[in-house]
Amino acid sequence: MNRSARTRREKDLTPETFGHLLDWLDRDRDRAGQRYEQIRLRLIKIFECRGCTAAEELADETINRVAEKTQQIAGSYVGDPASYFCGVAHKVYQEQARKVTSHLTTLPADMAEKKEPLQEEAEFRYRCMEQCMERISIRNRELILAYYGAANDPQGKIAGRKELSQRLGIGANALWIRTHRIREGLKKCVAMCLEQKQAGHPGEIE
């Protein structure tokens, strides 16, 4: 279990309550920890998809409520605990929607006014992208170029990716997972690079 999960548990839940939750998820503590992280990550994505700005907080609120109920329901509940989380998440979302009337945000109204700074930031970001692309292996860079740079039309893209997966001898989903991981790594690299540029150390990525 990672540090953030532990910190959150200590903050919001008693160790006993959190322990009951883990036991309910899986008798094996390691597997229960993995399942916990998996559910949390998916809850965040669900709240994000519902247009919530504070997706992470709502996910933690959902987990806390489930954990508090665990002792009562663990003995009688039948089926995948994930379904229970889903129901609680829906309730949390409805409560949140009632509290915040404008929970669905639009693009910032001042976005157009911030065009100049945004353009400057985009330029910085692009330079970071170039640097980060140089830092990954040639093979990974070629894969990114081949996968995301395929034809723009949907049919051409599908055909191109199919051919690529055949050449590499892996399935379409495995190919996406591989490229997605490289992309996530690039995203982190670019974010770090931007932070350093903003801190006044342009051109250096650690």
Partner: protein, 301 residues
Amino acid sequence: MIAGRQREDEVLFRRYLLGQTSEEEQLAIEQRLLSDQDYFDHLLRSEEELTDEYARGEMSNPDREKFEGHFLSSPERREGLAFAQALSRYLSTHEQRTPARPGLFPRPPVFMEVALMAAVIVLVVAVGLMLRTNTQLREQVEQNRSQRAQAEQRAAMLTRQMEQQQEQLNRLEQELARLEPLIRQGGSDLLSLVLTPGLSRASDQTPTLNLAPGIHRVRLDLKIEDGSYSSYRAELQTAEGGVVWNREDLKTRRTGHQQVIQIVLPAVLLTRSDYLVMLTGTSSTGTTDKIGTYHFSVMNK
């Protein structure tokens, strides 16, 4: 079948991500997202594709509005869009429309064939070398085994020889121990004495026999001047004239340039006393002449 269902999922995800699904659909999707890893991965892929589509400016106007109004509500997604725009720019700058540039991904078939053939040849050679080396090593092991067997046989033989020699040595030592008293007396149980005729018993030069324990026989060499007699007779007498022993038909012997009559007596006949030997010679005609008298003494009996 699977592709068709995936396509349906993609359409549903697109509506879900743009906030266009009903509450019922939403709940069904979310329940499955929480329990199905592949389904969750598929959503992430759709999310990524939607972002890229917007970043490349390929999205239709109605979808653009929904995207901006609903999808971009979280800061993480806005950050994701900025990244997608930078990536899109990079891709257009480093254009690669074909699925793979030659060189990094699958190689040209001719090169593949050549490489494959080379690999097969290397493999065959390597296997051949391994077999040869294996045979050589096996032969060497056999040779070493044979040499070791021979060495073990030689060692066993030498051990047997050593044991035999040891046994022989033990026997010799026992024999030596038995003979030691005799060796100390002169190497045998026989004590010899050379006597010259004419010397009286009163003389300081009277020969003496020292009869130590272990001496069983006494040999007396009686020197003679004239060895022309066909036979001789010797008679041993005590100083008082008692005859102790006699022997006839004796013959001369030559020791060096001397002629002697050699007689051997049992030591038990002698006691500590003075003795004399009377020697007479018999010619071929039968006449007998006195040759000489020989004196000696016996000690330590």
